[in-house]
């Protein structure tokens, strides 16, 4: 059974994707999954070749058949999402506001509203230099990112089982909302990438609380730890106090940004630099942790 390692952060921009890129180059026998379907970036480091592309459709949208609309406005009265309005005596839908609940279609006395599937994204099975990868993109202003996250995870896990892989390494979304909940439920380990800033610490606490809520094992990494040593100490103490091991402390190193600019994992850009060495140590610590579970 492959183990799932999720890399998340709460706060955006702390370096999740750079960490996953480094792990991609370091880990053997793994499948990579980009579950930040809102703003997926891992492909920019791993240059996947798409083998299969699929539509993703999980939501519906109201479609009004204007020729049957009698202008009774009942649909407008029942819609809680302000998605319907009248133009020239006929109801129209604002597709961005429509939640897809279908109450309007049920209430319309003329049967003038039907609920239609929406293609809200795509997902891909790909090959990279570092192994197979599952990734996706959500359409702009689309809903159901949580379901797309769940799908990417499911496909990555299937692929890992089939190929006898040891790990699924997941690049997670920021925040603690629906996509993160989909990404974290039942993973083997959530590695939280933090930074020694007031905001980083605040967001780390909330994302750890979320992991607790779902009973998930946690480890922490502190990126750019030398930016503020006092806050780094504070994070370490906080993590120690709650039994979350700090498995890595990555120094501020311009090589990390330069690797992103070059579009390659850090390990391919500057394998002997300070940050790269720390990534290596961190990966060994993570493996040790996963083995012990």
């Amino acid at each position: 059974m492959a183990q799932e390692l999720l890399v998340i952060s709460g706060k955006g921009g702390t370096g999740k994707t750079s960490v996953v890129g480094a792990f991609a180059a370091l880990a053997e026998h793994k499948v990579l999954a980009d579950c930040d379907v809102d703003a997926a970036d891992l492909h920019l480091l791993l240059s996947p070749k798409v083998r299969e592309a699929h539509d993703f459709s999980a939501s519906k949208e109201a479609l009004i058949h204007g020729e049957h609309c009698i202008g009774c406005e009942r649909c407008i009265a029942v819609c809680r999402f302000d998605a319907l309005s009248m133009v020239d005596g006929v109801a129209i839908v604002d597709p961005i506001a429509c939640e897809g609940c279908g109450v309007c279609a049920h209430i319309c006395p003329e049967g003038a509203i039907t609920m239609e599937d929406v293609i809200s994204g795509n997902w891909y099975l790909s090959e990279t230099k570092y192994g197979p990868m599952v990734h996706a993109e959500l359409g702009i202003a689309q809903e159901n990112s949580g379901k797309l996250v769940a799908l990417v995870r499911r496909e990555a896990k299937k692929l890992a089982q089939r190929a006898g892989c040891k790990y699924v390494i997941i690049d997670g979304p920021p925040g603690i909302g629906c996509p993160v909940i989909s990404a974290i439920a039942q993973v083997d380990l959530a590695l939280i990438v933090s930074e020694p800033t007031a905001a980083g610490i605040h967001d780390l606490e909330r994302v750890l609380a979320l992991a607790d809520h779902f009973g998930v094992e946690t480890a922490a990494a502190i990126n750019k730890y030398d930016l503020d040593l006092a806050r780094t100490d504070q994070i370490e103490e906080y993590c120690r106090g709650r039994g979350t091991p700090v498995v890595g402390k990555i120094p501020f190193d311009e090589a990390v940004v330069k690797a992103v600019v070059e579009g390659v994992p850090l390990m391919a850009y500057d394998p002997d630099g300070q940050a790269a060495q720390e990534m290596r140590t961190m990966w060994m610590n993570v493996v040790e942790y996963l083995d012990a579970l």
């Binding site: 952060s9 959500l138 702009i140 920021p174 909302g177 800033t197 967001d203």
Partner: protein, 290 residues
């Protein structure tokens, strides 16, 4: 005017920009700051507002009267979110999946379903010096950030003057709730392929919502030139470039206020505000970028 600060990519400096513009502009005009990143709100860490009001954000969620329920299954058939299941003639509800559409209560033939408010988060209001402050926090484990973000965003209605909205990262539902019906959207990015990729998504979102947008490039000097080239090709104005400066990063790290420590940024942000006003009031290049 409602000015929303968004980004696509996280950690590019949305909150820094929103907070410091609010502090600076509040010296001369009425300003409210709405932190709509309800999953990970951070603006209060820089503003330290004195909170004077707190109210829950709720969603109407079904409650089934078992005596009246005939087990017909209509509610479960109506629910698009699998929040009601009928098993063995009994209706079971899953409140955390409910979107509050009210379909079950409306369509139950026995009138057995009523709705009760269920807390999904809170909104707090306060003052940070002259800045009127609002933020929201979605409850840990509650998957519905968008209604909480929308509830914070609604507070714009009660304010005059400039309203600065700090949006969450990404481009999906909670971001849409923050950006929709804004007069202008500032997209903060960084000059890297990640920043560029996510900026393109954010521009797509702003255009979909028909909100004019302009770009602020943060940490200039650390990356490459692709963001500038993209903005030029798409006719999107780059309104401000902030150089990478370790002193700014350290000030941010400790929750400091840049406009109090770096006079050169005061000038830059004031010019940024004048540019935005021109874009909104005149037919600037931002309008063409629609």
């Amino acid at each position: 005017m409602i000015l929303t600060v968004a980004s696509g990519k996280g950690g590019t400096g949305k909150t820094t920009l929103a907070v410091n513009m609010a502090l600076l502009l509040a010296e001369t005009m009425p300003v409210a700051l709405l932190d709509c990143d309800v999953e990970e709100p951070n603006a209060h860490l820089f503003l330290h507002p004195a909170i004077d009001a707190c109210e829950p954000v709720t969603l109407p969620t079904p409650v089934v009267d078992e005596e009246r329920c005939c087990g017909c299954g209509k509610c479960a058939a109506v629910c698009a979110f699998n929040a009601i299941l009928v098993l063995g003639g009994r209706a079971l509800t899953f409140p955390e999946l409910c979107h509050g559409c009210g379909g079950c209560a409306l369509l139950c033939p026995e009138g057995a379903v009523t709705e009760e408010p269920r807390g999904i988060g809170v909104i707090e209001a306060g003052w940070a010096e002259k800045v009127r402050f609002f933020h929201g926090r979605v409850d840990i484990g509650a998957p519905l950030a968008a209604p909480v973000a929308a509830a914070v965003r609604k507070r714009a209605q009660e304010r005059q003057g400039l309203i600065i909205v700090d949006a969450p990262p990404g481009t999906s539902c909670p971001v849409v709730a923050a950006v929709k019906d804004s007069d202008y959207c500032l997209l903060v990015t960084e000059p890297t392929p990640f920043g560029l990729h996510d900026l393109q998504l954010a521009v797509g979102m702003a255009r979909e919502l028909q909100v004019p947008c302009g770009v602020v490039v943060n940490r200039v000097g650390l990356g490459d030139q692709q963001v500038a080239a993209y903005c030029a090709s798409e006719d999107i104005p780059v309104l401000l470039e902030i150089p990478f400066d370790r002193r700014y990063a350290e000030c941010y790290a400790r929750g400091g206020q840049l406009v109090r420590e770096f006079p050169e940024l005061r000038d830059k942000l004031r010019k940024l505000w004048l540019r935005i006003r021109m874009e909104v009031e005149g037919d600037g290049p931002g309008a063409a970028g629609h």
